[in-house]
């Protein structure tokens, strides 16, 4: 688990946690659809997150869009999942980057704005049935899948995947 504060947004506390062997992905997804406030996090499929750069770039994009009032999604968490993807359609982003029923490795992000209570990891541990891990982000990533989603297959292979992804996220 890490707490992240971006230099330009000192008021915003971001909590990032990773879980493996998650057993209740389906329940989490159902509760999310119901709008249960206990599940006010971004639940991300770890398979499609290439690296810390990928995740942080999308978080930065989300906060900038929030500040400029140019968000496409309704909440910060859904905007984050949207920004992780190269898609124009929010549903497509949820399908590939959000939690799916068969997900066992997930990344959970909580962005709390000004005045909100700081997120506690204890609450999250009781919501997710799995083991919290401290592995580097991107370990469970399927590079082939990410390359396909971001359409990076025709490019030279000496280019850095994270730089390419981060660039296209910033330009979306």
């Amino acid at each position: 688990m890490t707490t992240l504060v971006l230099p330009q947004f000192p008021e915003t506390k971001i909590l990032i946690a990773q879980y493996q062997n998650v057993k209740n992905a389906r329940t989490i997804r159902e509760e999310l659809i119901k709008g249960n406030l206990q599940f006010n996090y971004a639940f991300i499929n770890a398979e499609t997150v290439a690296s810390e750069t990928h995740l942080n770039s999308a978080i930065y994009r989300t906060l900038i869009n929030h500040k400029n009032k140019t968000m496409k999604a309704k909440t910060l968490h859904s905007e984050l999942i949207f920004n992780l993807s190269p898609f124009k359609n929010i549903m497509d982003a949820f399908k590939k980057f959000g939690i799916a029923d068969e997900c066992s490795n997930i990344i959970v992000v909580r962005i709390s704005g000004d005045g909100e209570t700081e997120p506690e990891i204890g609450n999250l541990d009781s919501v997710v049935e799995g083991e919290r891990t401290e592995e580097p982000i991107g370990l469970h990533c399927s590079t082939a899948l990410v390359k396909k989603i971001f359409k990076l297959n025709g490019l030279r292979d000496d280019l850095d995947l994270s730089t390419l992804i981060s660039g296209s996220i910033q330009l979306r």
Binding site: L4, L6, P7, Q8, P10, E52, T53, N56, S57, I59, Y60, R61, I64, N68, T70, L155, R156, D158, L159, T163, L164, S166, G167, S168, Q170, L171
Partner: protein, 270 residues
């Protein structure tokens, strides 16, 4: 005015230490050691980043101004990303904030032996000065025209050619918009400032690009510009031939002759 612009930039980029390194009509360029979204522990403490900030212009209509600032910022950022994808040496894009006119990119280049920034202009000036200060100017080979300079100029030609082969024109090629990066004792040129660049399929635009650089070299390095331009065009031609695009080169070079005669503007209006 300038102080006020810096204050506005600092408000938009609160908590980011900013150092002004250059200011033009369109944008101010800052340097900082803070990455917008990656933690400090991931980088070496000396890594630097460049922030290019296009301020709002008070004399334009606010709605139009917002559109101009954000579209220019977005298109420059898009170009930087495109160049990275194509493997053309240019600063890597880190982050963009279109509506506020902010681009974050990687810092490139280093310092010359005399402590100046390693732009092509400073490099050539440094070489020319060393030659001037030498006592025995007659018998020794000329420092300002040595193999190192020849190698650099022909690589600059190559870099411009690579850009043109991708149908991108730089739009503002000068010797200070070319930064030299040191790699194993060799200087590799890198183009910066794509604020005026665009896509083009016309040989005319590419010829104008070369002509602008040629004129810039003549005015900033008058004594040796002839040799510099010659080497530059050699490198340019070689890269085109290697890419099996000799035909395009012939067309551009014919155009260049025309442009030299009539100047950059084709139409004589305005």
């Amino acid at each position: 005015m300038s102080v006020q612009l810096i204050t506005t930039a600092q408000e938009l980029l609160n908590n980011i230490p900013l150092n002004v390194i250059s200011q033009g009509a369109e944008a101010i360029v800052f340097e900082t050691q803070t990455h917008p979204f990656l933690p400090k522990s991931n980088q070496s403490p000396t890594t630097k980043f460049i922030i290019k900030y296009r301020p709002r212009k008070p004399y334009r209509h606010p709605t139009l101004d917002l559109q101009i600032v954000s579209s220019r910022t977005q298109s420059e950022a898009r170009l930087l990303h495109k160049l990275y994808q194509l493997g053309i040496k240019a600063p890597k894009l880190i982050a963009v904030d279109g509506p506020n006119g902010i681009i974050w990119m990687e810092s490139v280049g280093g310092t010359l032996p005399n402590g100046e920034t390693s732009s092509l202009k400073n490099m050539l000036w440094f070489k020319e000065k060393s030659q001037e200060e030498r006592e025995d100017q007659r018998n020794e080979p000329n420092i300002a025209l040595d193999d190192e300079v020849k190698d650099i100029m022909s690589k600059v030609g190559g870099a411009v050619a690579k850009l043109h082969l991708a149908n991108i024109v730089h739009g503002d090629l000068t010797s200070s918009n070319i930064i030299l990066d040191q790699h194993n004792d060799k200087w590799e040129p890198m183009l910066i400032d794509f604020g005026l660049s665009s896509y083009s399929l016309l040989a005319e635009d590419e010829a104008v690009d070369l002509y602008v650089l040629e004129r810039a070299l003549i005015s900033t390095h008058p004594i040796y510009s002839k040799s510099y331009n010659e080497w530059l065009l050699q490198g340019y031609e070689r890269t085109f031939r290697e890419a099996a695009a000799s035909k395009k080169f012939t067309e551009i070079s014919r155009r260049l002759q025309d442009v030299r005669l009539r100047g950059r503007k084709r139409s004589m209006l305005g």
